[in-house]
């Protein structure tokens, strides 16, 4: 039983990371109806930019290497880079394609993916880099002693960060003027336009917020697995999460992430041995497929409201 809980908790905590990437998709999909294939590339770009600044800033500014000042300055500069990316994307990708079918915009974001990946590597190089956030990746002693369960402190930290981020976003969406405008745009573009909500500003804001989420996700994933090209594949991992949770729901992204994380680890441990193992990498997609058949809008996806 202890082993079961160990696997379950480990799975849930890694699910939080999936949720973080899925969140970026949900934000953009909600506000602009665009399935942003470039989200994974944005995670990569953000993480690489952050690590890059960590490396070059001490040389430029004379700040102490690995110090707090460098860390936060890099964070702010990376965030600024994501905002610039959002503005440029709106201006050169979204604006010219306004009113085009969703599939056109989707194709455009695939193009954007290659562009962003190329630019990121062009600027910072393609080497795999380590990233140390100063959080230890070792078992928490308290849990070891009392329950005999192995839980990584880093996973707990990542989960806490994700939880704070999600709570902050939820409050932002629910209670601020901009958040309300974002939801309004998500519901009905034309009506939002008619009451004077400038769609372009809203798009820039939402892409910038998605960039911020990508930065946080990239930092955590990067600290875990190293900052490398493989970060772009996190986007693929987010797909089953989205199908499970629903494309339009922030809580859905979280719950979907947790379910995918937990079920893939449990399946690996308990089902894996019967089919030769290694099912962790494809089990989520099977789960998503089954889900599509039963509940295509996802667990929390917005049902189309139809008046009868």
């Amino acid at each position: 039983m202890q082993f079961f809980f160990e696997v379950l908790i480990g799975g849930l905590l890694s699910g939080v990371l999936y949720a973080l990437v899925a969140l970026g998709f949900v934000l953009i999909y909600k506000a602009s109806g665009v399935f942003n294939f470039a989200q994974g590339a944005m995670v990569f770009f953000a993480a690489l930019t952050f690590v890059g600044f960590l490396e070059v800033l001490p040389g430029w500014t004379g700040l102490e290497e690995g110090g707090r000042a460098v860390f936060w300055l890099s964070f702010v500069l990376s965030l600024a880079a994501m905002v610039v990316l959002a503005i440029v994307t709106e201006k050169f990708v979204l604006r010219p394609l306004v009113n085009q079918p969703a599939i056109t915009l989707f194709m455009a974001t695939i193009g954007l993916t290659f562009l962003v990946e190329g630019i990121a590597q062009g600027i910072w190089g393609a080497n795999v880099r380590g990233l140390n956030l100063g959080i230890q990746d070792e078992p928490i002693e308290y849990m070891m002693e009392n329950f005999n369960i192995l839980i990584s402190s880093f996973d707990v930290f990542a989960a806490a960060v994700a939880a704070i981020l999600v709570a902050a976003l939820a409050l932002f969406f629910q209670y601020t003027r901009i958040g309300r405008a974002l939801r309004a745009v998500a519901d009905d573009h034309q009506a939002a336009l008619s009451i004077g909500i400038p769609l372009r500003h809203i798009w820039v804001i939402v892409w910038a917020v998605a960039g911020f989420v990508a930065l946080v996700a990239g930092m955590i994933w990067g600290a875990r697995n190293g900052v490398q090209f493989a970060l772009t594949f996190t986007a693929l991992k987010a797909l089953p999460v989205l199908i499970l949770g629903g494309f339009t729901s922030v809580p859905g992204a979280i719950v979907g992430g947790l379910i995918i994380g937990a079920s893939e680890k449990l399946a690996e441990v308990y089902v894996g041995p019967f089919v030769g193992g290694g099912i962790e990498s494809w089990f989520p997609y099977i789960l998503a497929l089954a889900f599509l058949l039963v509940r295509p809008e996802g667990l929390f996806g917005e049902k189309h409201i139809d008046r009868v």
Binding site: R183, A184, A186, D187, D188, Q190, A191, G196, E302, R307
Partner: protein, 278 residues
């Protein structure tokens, strides 16, 4: 004395004027063929006509929602309070006081009624106290909305959604509301109720309305002035009362005439004969 004179002069000057506007969709479809109309300050003007006559397009060319639908004003100009507005974005127009309530209501279905109304105040910069006041004012005009304030707009009735859409526009503190087909799909009593409120808003809050309607008789009862559109041209205009009693209007838009039913062949047309190469 001179003060009074200038005040009278500005009131007499056209407030919103549309001058010989031509609209083409998608670079090929000619929808408006030179429409001119005026809305005086503080009045309700009705824009009447059948399906596809160009009523919605006229309103959208004023509010500039046209561009989002690949339409373009290719000739003519539109002025509001003496300034050209045909190149402005919808957001700038709302700030200037011109707002459109779209046909088919277009409430934000997943937002509550109250959130819908608050979203309408997006462009305002006068702080939360003013917005709160407007919200109360809208609730006073539309008591039904106060009752439904925390329901999702998508689950309210058609009449409530229409009220929500008008209330949302009022939240932007407009001087001029372009109201597109408020009676669409609503029961006659609800239509009366909504028109009463519109008239009230016009009288007490001094909001001017340009109203596109197919429901000719109701619209003329509440409007001060009317224009009749046919095939992208204005074919008739006049005081609402004059239009309401005019035999031709009755015949074209109500199918009523002195002599009872007529054969289709005898029905009059204002449509000009087609001229090639013009």
């Amino acid at each position: 004395m001179t003060m009074q004179n200038t005040a009278a002069a500005t009131e007499a000057a056209p407030y919103l004027s549309v001058n010989n506007v031509e609209v083409i969709y998608d670079h090929v479809i000619l929808v408006l063929k030179g429409v001119s109309l005026e809305v005086p300050k503080g009045k309700i003007v009705a824009l009447l006509g059948a399906n596809g006559a160009g009523k919605s397009t006229t309103l959208k060319s004023i509010s500039n929602l046209l561009r989002a639908e690949r339409g373009d004003v290719t000739k003519g100009n539109i002025e509001f309070k003496g300034a050209r507005i045909d190149q402005m974005t919808p957001a700038d127009l709302v700030k200037r006081g011109v707002i459109q309530v779209m046909e088919g209501r277009h409430c934000f279905g997943h937002l509550t009624i109250e959130e819908n109304l608050l979203a309408g105040a997006y462009t305002r910069g006068d702080g939360s106290a003013g917005i709160k006041r407007s919200l109360e004012m809208v609730y006073d005009y539309f008591p039904r909305l106060r009752e439904r304030r925390s329901s999702q707009a998508g689950y309210t009735s058609g009449g409530e959604q229409q009220m929500c859409a008008i209330g949302r526009a009022i939240m932007a503190n407009p001087e001029m509301v372009l109201l597109d087909e408020p009676s669409m799909g609503l029961a006659p009593q609800i239509v009366e109720e909504i028109f009463e409120i519109v008239k009230d808003l016009n009288r007490k809050e001094h909001v001017s309305f340009l109203l596109a309607e197919q429901n000719t008789m109701v619209a003329l009862r509440y409007a001060d002035f009317g224009y009749i559109l046919e095939n992208g041209r204005i074919v008739m205009e006049g005081e609402a009362q004059y239009l309401a009693t005019n035999e031709d209007v009755k015949e074209f838009y109500l199918g009523l005439s002195g002599e009872g039913r007529k054969s289709f062949r005898d029905v009059k047309h204002y449509r000009r004969r087609k001229r090639w190469l013009s």
